[in-house]
């Protein structure tokens, strides 16, 4: 186990909360004021083994996060470099929940639907974050439930944070924006769509049937505002599809229950408050990623999620590292593969190399 890098000494390491192809995610708490005890997610990018420096994914994620500030986008609080082992650390405000975990909680419990206020508030905040990104010509390109985080108890309880910008792209805005800004007094030219139309077309050709099936199965009245919004967001033709900016204006968000900042606490009395399971934390891992071979411990109440769930992904993944969700593995095997101590020569799974 290596010496703890100097900057890490400002945090108390709690444990590992996620792992992906290019690094590890840790939960830590700030040691000293003004934010003493504040939870931080630290994403560590490993130095690539094939000698190509800081991973381009890390570079792109940092460069984008440095440009954006929005309540519904994850906040990068610090970047650190450890010159000794050439690793890079990104420190984020910690989010206790994510949409994948929330959806699974309800699905596995079977009988309880997510309450309408929570659904509407989550969607509302997600759209606000997306609208911000899109109006800044940033396309996320990897949006999925496990990358949509929700803050746990605290000042920002129930606030959505869009995370993982490793695949995101900033498009240079067309000149129209110059005209908009009054820099040039001429008529605006038509703008090109930031989405790569033909690429999306290919994706949707493959998925359109499933979407149609899905719409048929949605337990919503076809006359409801929610059904209307959903159909518009799932529109096959990207030119006809509702934009984030338009969706925010939709009637669905103007009818009761109105969306709120804390998506997890229902505004109406009598609604049941759901205690979502907390993220499991592997307290046996240090910042080097070395561990003893013990099963992960849930830090607090964690119920179903901490057990032998196969293909662990979203639940353990606040710090935004994509994990191979489709690959269902027996937990124990997954566990062993992830935790080979250094020196045993097995290292990381082979897909890691091809990811670069």
């Amino acid at each position: 186990m290596g010496e703890k890098p100097e900057w890490l000494q400002q945090y108390n390491l709690i444990g590992k909360i996620g792992e992906g192809t290019y690094g590890l995610v840790f939960l830590a708490k700030t040691k000293s004021p003004p934010n003493c005890g504040k939870s931080i997610a630290i994403k560590k990018f490993k130095q690539s083994k094939d000698g190509d420096g800081v991973s381009p994914t890390a570079i792109r994620e940092i460069m984008l996060l440095r440009e954006i500030t929005h309540e519904n986008v994850v906040k990068l609080v610090n970047v650190h470099i450890n010159h000794n082992d050439m690793s890079l650390y990104l420190a984020f405000d910690y989010a206790e929940h994510d949409l994948y975990e929330i959806i699974r909680h309800h699905r596995d419990k079977g009988n309880n639907m997510i309450n309408q206020y929570t659904v509407k508030s989550l969607l509302w905040q997600l759209l606000n974050g997306l609208n911000y990104l899109h109006s800044n010509w940033i396309i996320h390109r990897d949006l999925k439930p496990s990358n949509i985080l929700v803050m746990g108890e605290g000042e920002e309880h129930g606030v959505v944070k869009i995370a993982d910008f490793g695949l995101a792209r900033i498009y240079q805005a067309p000149l129209k924006t110059l005209f908009d800004n009054g820099v040039v007094g001429a008529e605006a030219k038509s703008t090109s769509n930031p989405f790569q139309l033909d690429q999306l077309d290919k994706i949707f050709k493959g998925t359109s049937m499933r979407i149609l099936d899905y719409m048929g199965a949605v337990p919503l009245s076809t006359k409801s505002a929610s059904f209307d919004l959903l159909s518009k967001m799932l529109e096959y033709d990207p030119r006809k599809r509702i934009t984030a900016a338009q969706a925010i204006e939709h009637d669905y968000f103007r009818s009761e229950p109105l969306p709120g900042r804390n998506a997890l606490v229902p505004s109406q009395p009598g609604e049941k408050v759901i205690n979502y399971p907390t993220r499991p934390v592997d307290t046996n891992t240090d910042f080097e990623g070395t561990t003893s071979l013990q099963p992960p411990q849930p830090v607090t109440s964690g119920n179903a999620i901490s057990g032998g769930m196969p293909g662990m992904g979203g639940g353990m993944n606040p710090g935004n590292i994509p994990m191979p969700r489709g690959v269902a593995q027996p937990h124990q095997q997954h566990h062993l593969r992830r935790k080979d101590p250094p020196g045993t020569g097995t290292g990381y799974p082979p897909q890691q190399k091809s990811r670069r």
């Binding site: 800081v54 470099i81 010159h83 800044n136 240079q172 110059l178 820099v183």
Partner: protein, 251 residues
């Protein structure tokens, strides 16, 4: 909401000329003058361009790399950050930021092929270490906006989008990276200054078009003057003069 450049870190960290023209104390101790400082920065654009051609990356990557290098030297000394290592490393970092990653191995190979000089003998490890130092020194601000994007639209709007005019202005924009303009002015003003310079050079009267733009023409004309000054003084720079500046950097 106003998007892009006006909200960007690039816009927020534009410098004044006086802030850019500061020779680091460590370099000053070695006898580096402001003129030497500018000369070295100007000269280092050449290996960046040559390397970029070898590894086949777009001009945009070159422009971003040069911007990183110039930003770095507003904060760090050439004594601690050897320009001969900084230049290829900036290209390396820019290639990642601009989504056309070049392998460090390939860069090192090309450098060795291009220069027999021992001063350029850097290994992969040196580039990777410098990459992290530069990232840190740039404070992780990596998004750079360039004049290239607005150029074709301006030219079309001004009715000057013929091949000859496009090539001339594009070349002028390339040459602006020999100066610190990208650190000081918004890129669309640099683009306009290049169009202005080209229109004067080709004796095309575009006064009416420029007057319709709601931009500060004094700034555009000042940038154009600086570009002309650069071409004027550039002819007088000899290899000896450049070598003398580099020799002062020796430990």
């Amino acid at each position: 909401m106003a998007a892009n450049f006006w909200n960007s870190s690039h816009y927020k960290q534009l410098f004044d000329q006086e802030e850019v023209d500061v020779v680091h104390p460590l370099d000053k101790d070695k006898g580096i003058t402001l003129e030497d400082f500018k000369l070295i920065k100007m000269h280092m654009v050449i290996p960046i361009c040559k390397l970029a051609q070898q590894v086949k990356v777009r001009q945009r990557v070159v422009a971003t790399a040069v911007t990183y290098m110039r930003r770095l030297y507003t904060r760090k000394s050439m004594s601690e950050y050897d320009p001969r290592l900084v230049a290829p490393t900036c290209l390396y970092l820019a290639s990642k930021a601009e989504e056309s990653t070049v392998q460090a191995r390939l860069l090192v190979y090309c450098i060795k092929k291009m220069y027999s000089d021992d001063k350029y003998r850097y290994e992969i490890k040196d580039i990777l270490e410098m990459e992290m130092k530069i990232l840190e020194a740039l404070n992780y601000y990596l998004v750079v906006f360039h004049p290239y994007r607005s150029l074709p639209q301006f030219l079309q709007d001004a009715g000057m989008n013929d091949i000859s005019m496009t090539q001339l202005t594009w070349g002028l924009v390339n040459d602006t990276y020999r100066m610190d303009l990208i650190l000081i002015h918004p890129p669309h003003l640099i683009a306009l200054a290049c169009i202005y310079t080209a229109s004067v050079y080709r004796e095309k009267d575009k006064t009416a078009w420029f007057e319709e733009l709601r931009v500060d023409m004094n700034v555009v004309k000042n940038i154009a003057m600086e570009i002309l000054d650069f071409y004027e003084s550039h002819r007088l720079i000899t290899d000896e003069r450049i070598n003398a500046a580099f020799n002062k950097l020796k430990p």
